[in-house]
Amino acid sequence: MLQANYFDGRSTRVRVVSLSVAGEDLIIAGEGVDFRVPFADVKVDERLGLAPRSLRFKDGAFCEIRDLDGLDTLLRSTAHRDGRVDRLQRSLRFVLFSCVACALMAVVAYRWGLPWAAGEGAKHLPPVIGKTLSVQTLKILDGAILTPSKIDKERQRSLNTKFHSLRLQEGGTPNSALLFRGSLQLGANAFTLPDGTIIVLDELVTAMADDQQIVAVLAHELGHVHGRHGLQLLLRSSAVGAFWTFYIGDVSSLLAAAPAAVVEAKYSQELERQADDYGAALLLHNGLSPGLLADALQKLTERHPGASKAGFLSTHPSTDERMRRLRLLSPSTPPSE
């Protein structure tokens, strides 16, 4: 005998009934209620912790049961079997497995899944999106931390010519626009907008020994353009932001992180290496030595010992290792210590 509260589904009247099983049938008997139904027609609520469970009948009536152990005993004498998820939720082993699996998947998704998805996404996004984003971003940056360039027009034109006469391995010449800007905060730096526009800051131009070193830095930036790294980073930060918004339920951080993402982007070491490799190959293809890029990096290291000032270096980790790699790729310059 199992006690339950019976509701007819038409009013909130509580009727105390007792339940029992006879053969294939469930018998419900109590205050003004007395009937039997084939157990096959009864829907059994799954277990949710110690919450009351109900046995539901086809006409909308149901019995609410608080004595969960009693219900288990009753169910054992029937053909009822707990649902799969119900059993998983109660298995300590599966709960522990879920903890480990979720943690592992979170790490894998962040470490490999996200970069892969961002790479694929950046490849397939229509160019108009990169274009519009870049126009917007540049407008915001110009109003905030970028100032007009102080490099004279003649120098700008000659750098532009040198840059645009680079021959790309994949054929043709760079079709990225080259823009010159000044900035107090960003130091000697160059960065790429999502549509491939490269922005060169005045301090970078004055820091380099000659135009060839500047071209070497631009070759590296072309590597970012080629791999669409700017768009990739934007997608990554949007995905991470969206995830946290979803998880914690805060809606404020989702919008417009684009301008910050471009400038403060911590290009992962992997993306930097890709850009270096592309730049080195491009320089070789044009009869220039990848050592030039190493020299440029050297110059920047000397300029910012300890790389404390925000600039080209802070976003580009382990400069020593990169210079070594680049010098190894150079045919003319022996690897230096």
């Binding site: 509701f7 009013s11 909130t12 009247r13 509580v14 109900s54 149901f62 917007q136 417009a256």
Partner: protein, 362 residues
């Protein structure tokens, strides 16, 4: 009237009935198993299972919520929640892209969102209430489509052009639209809070914020001036002291930042429920702002410290406090509610098929 309200009028002067408190019997440790298994299944199915997980989550919380010895229940179909989520996701993506890209399409997309949103929200209210029951009797929402456009679009527009001066009024209209059109079975809810009461809470909090910033400003400028004066007289400035002052001011700012939301929520929720009636039954809600601040802040800290694992305990803690601060003050026997006649629901198809659920939390 008694036919519609479904409550028989009291035969003599109503005897004082004891208040019926809501109680919540869920436990964090118990919910953890349900939560983590459903999280795993959601990840493995690339999010599709999240609709089923949501039904389980709501059923866990509803069934653990009890009034007068009986539980609430949730009956929503996962498929409909899934459809709702797909729609919500598409709209969110469209909205985000249109805001970021600001092209000629932006206005068109925003216009479409604005036109569709009130209709979707109204259907989402219907879905949520229709699928909630107590003692087998379902709740209903019968707000009109026209009403939802008035509440969301017209009042939203008025709020914007009056620079949010009308925000408390809009809030009151929204709650009136929701509560005046809600039913439990045949019994209608009614909403009695006036816009003035909403204004009072908004103004109180604004005044508190303003006072806080004045004090902060005076303290900040005062300590800066005294430091400078001290320096001018040749004194040495103790960097530790400066640091401490800055930290104290910064800490106060954070404290106010995390308190303002829960305080507002506690005051507004109390106002709303204390002025809502179900037929002749009154409802009481007594959330304490301080307790709600404590729960919100400690939950947030613990979730971050445990890298999210505290989530189920946090959800249970918050639900328990919020649910158990509510009481029903019955005017008559709670056995007397009647379910709505099936035909008064309108087309069943309309009631159940055109439903979208907009809650996109885990």
């Amino acid at each position: 009237m008694e036919n519609i309200s479904g409550i028989q009028p009291p035969k003599q002067a109503p005897a004082a009935r004891p208040p019926e408190p809501l109680s919540f019997t869920g436990k964090g440790s118990e919910y953890f198993g349900i939560w983590i298994v459903n999280l795993l299944l959601t990840i493995v199915t690339l999010g599709i299972y999240s609709a089923w997980a949501k039904v389980r989550r709501l059923q866990y919380f509803y069934r653990h919520t009890q009034l007068a010895g009986s539980s609430f229940d949730f009956h929503g179909s996962p498929i409909k929640i899934l459809i709702g989520r797909v729609i919500a996701l598409v709209m969110l993506v469209c909205y985000n892209f249109s805001v970021r890209l600001q092209s000629s399409m932006t206005l068109v997309i925003l216009l479409i969102v604005a036109v569709v949103m009130p209709w979707l929200l109204r259907n989402s209210f219907r879905f949520r209430l229709y699928n909630t029951s107590w003692r087998g009797t379902r709740f209903h929402f019968r707000g009109s489509v026209a009403g939802s456009y008035r509440v969301f679009l017209l009042n939203g527009f008025l709020t914007l052009i009056t620079l949010y001066v009308m925000a408390p009024f809009m809030h009151q209209r929204l709650k009136a639209y929701q509560h005046d059109n809600s039913y439990f079975g045949r019994t209608q809810f009614s909403f009695h809070a006036r816009a003035g009461q909403f204004y009072l809470i908004y103004l109180l909090l604004l005044a508190a914020l303003a006072a806080f910033f004045v004090v902060m400003g005076v303290a900040g400028v005062g300590s800066a001036l005294s430091t400078m004066a001290h320096q001018r007289q040749g004194g040495k400035v103790d960097p530790a002291l400066v640091l401490r002052t800055v930290l104290i001011l910064y800490g106060a700012l954070i404290l106010v930042g995390v308190s303002i939301g829960p305080t507002f929520r506690a005051l507004i929720t109390n106002l709303i429920w204390n002025n809502t009636r179900l037929g002749e039954h009154r409802i009481e809600c007594s959330l304490s702002p301080l307790v709600l601040i404590w729960i919100s802040v400690s939950n947030m800290v613990l979730i971050v410290l445990t890298l999210g694992l505290f989530m189920p305990w946090a959800a249970v803690r918050l639900a328990k406090y919020q649910i158990e601060s509510m009481r029903l003050l019955p005017a008559s026997d709670l056995q007397e509610f009647e379910a709505a006649e099936p035909e008064s629901l309108g087309a069943v198809g309309e009631e159940t098929a055109t439903v979208f659920d907009f809650d996109i939390s885990l």
